[in-house]
Amino acid sequence: MNCDEFVELVTAFLDGALDDDTEQRFVEHLALCEGCETYLDQFRSTIGSLGELPPDSLSADARDRLLSAFRDFRRS
């Protein structure tokens, strides 16, 4: 497997979606190629950083309005 093929298979690999043969070639290439090992690490770091983005939140106004709407709906 060449590096230019490796880089296109990273997401499929991480999803466990590669067929056995391709996965084997992928892993073998990974063991031999520092550049691709780094690339895979960077993909993982990218995914990890995205997962750590702080959550958004509703404005206090919107939240209050929705709580009122819930209360009002119950009464009607």
Binding site: N2, C3, D4, E5, V7, E8, V10, T11, A12, D15, A17, C33, E34, G35, C36, T38, Y39, D41, Q42, F43, S45, T46, I47, S49, L50, G51, L53, P54, P55, D56, S57, L58, S59, A62, R63, R65, L66, L67, A69, F70, R71, F73, R74
Partner: protein, 218 residues
């Protein structure tokens, strides 16, 4: 599925909502709205629009929960309403989001010039001067705020079809099957969109780390 602390099981939650238990509603509101805002933001053009989409969604949930039959999880049901609402709003703002890969999504995700050419003894391998370099992460380099800013800019610059998938998968932590179900797309198409999005975000992080590293050199 999704990042959140444990909620009561669906049948308990639904029962409480249907009985008008405000604490149950508040719990859902506070647990899910953050993620819903991010997802809505992937479809519409402003944060204000995203908040309106989320509000409309919760209103629909309030009105519709009495008819909820449990054919899907409560969360899936709420998020389907969200996505339909966001799509409708996005259309009104002339932002249609066809959720399949565009022709330009099928090409290579890494600049071809980073690889050796056919006449080289190792065609298709990284050129030594263009291979990925490990990201140095001393405290000064990986300032959380700066990384978040770069991620935010990268997400904003993505085509909406990429932003929706990467938001659901990598920010909100939904699995592949769930995302396919929510968006009505095949696993293969989802993967093409996700891979493209991740490759672009990685590239932007690499770019920013390189600039910062160079900025640190005497």
């Amino acid at each position: 599925m999704g990042r959140e602390s444990a909620l009561p099981p669906d049948d308990v939650l639904v029962g409480r909502l249907q009985a008008g238990d405000e604490r149950a509603f508040r719990l859902l509101l506070d647990s899910w709205s953050g993620g819903m805002l991010r997802i809505a933001r992937a479809y519409v053009s402003t944060a204000a629009s995203a908040e309106e989409v989320v509000q409309e969604t919760w209103l629909a949930v309030i009105r519709g929960v009495h008819g909820f039959e449990g054919r899907s999880t409560l969360k899936t049901w709420v998020h389907r309403i969200l996505i339909n609402t966001a799509k409708t709003r996005g259309r009104k703002e002339s932002r249609t989001v066809p959720m399949e890969p565009a022709p330009e999504d099928t090409g290579p995700t890494v600049d071809r010039s980073r690889f050796r050419t056919a006449d080289d003894p190792y065609p298709g391998h990284w050129r030594s001067d263009r291979a990925p370099q490990p990201w140095a992460q001393p405290e000064e380099l990986l300032l959380a705020g700066e990384t978040r800013r770069v991620l935010g800019a990268a997400l904003d610059a993505l085509p909406a079809r990429h932003r929706v998938v990467i938001t659901l998968r990598d920010i909100e932590g939904y699995g592949s099957d769930e995302v396919c179900s929510l968006l009505g797309i095949s696993a293969g198409n989802q993967r093409v969109l996700l891979h493209r999005a991740r490759a672009e975000v990685r590239r932007r992080l690499e770019e920013s780390f390189t600039v910062r590293e160079e900025g640190m050199r005497p």
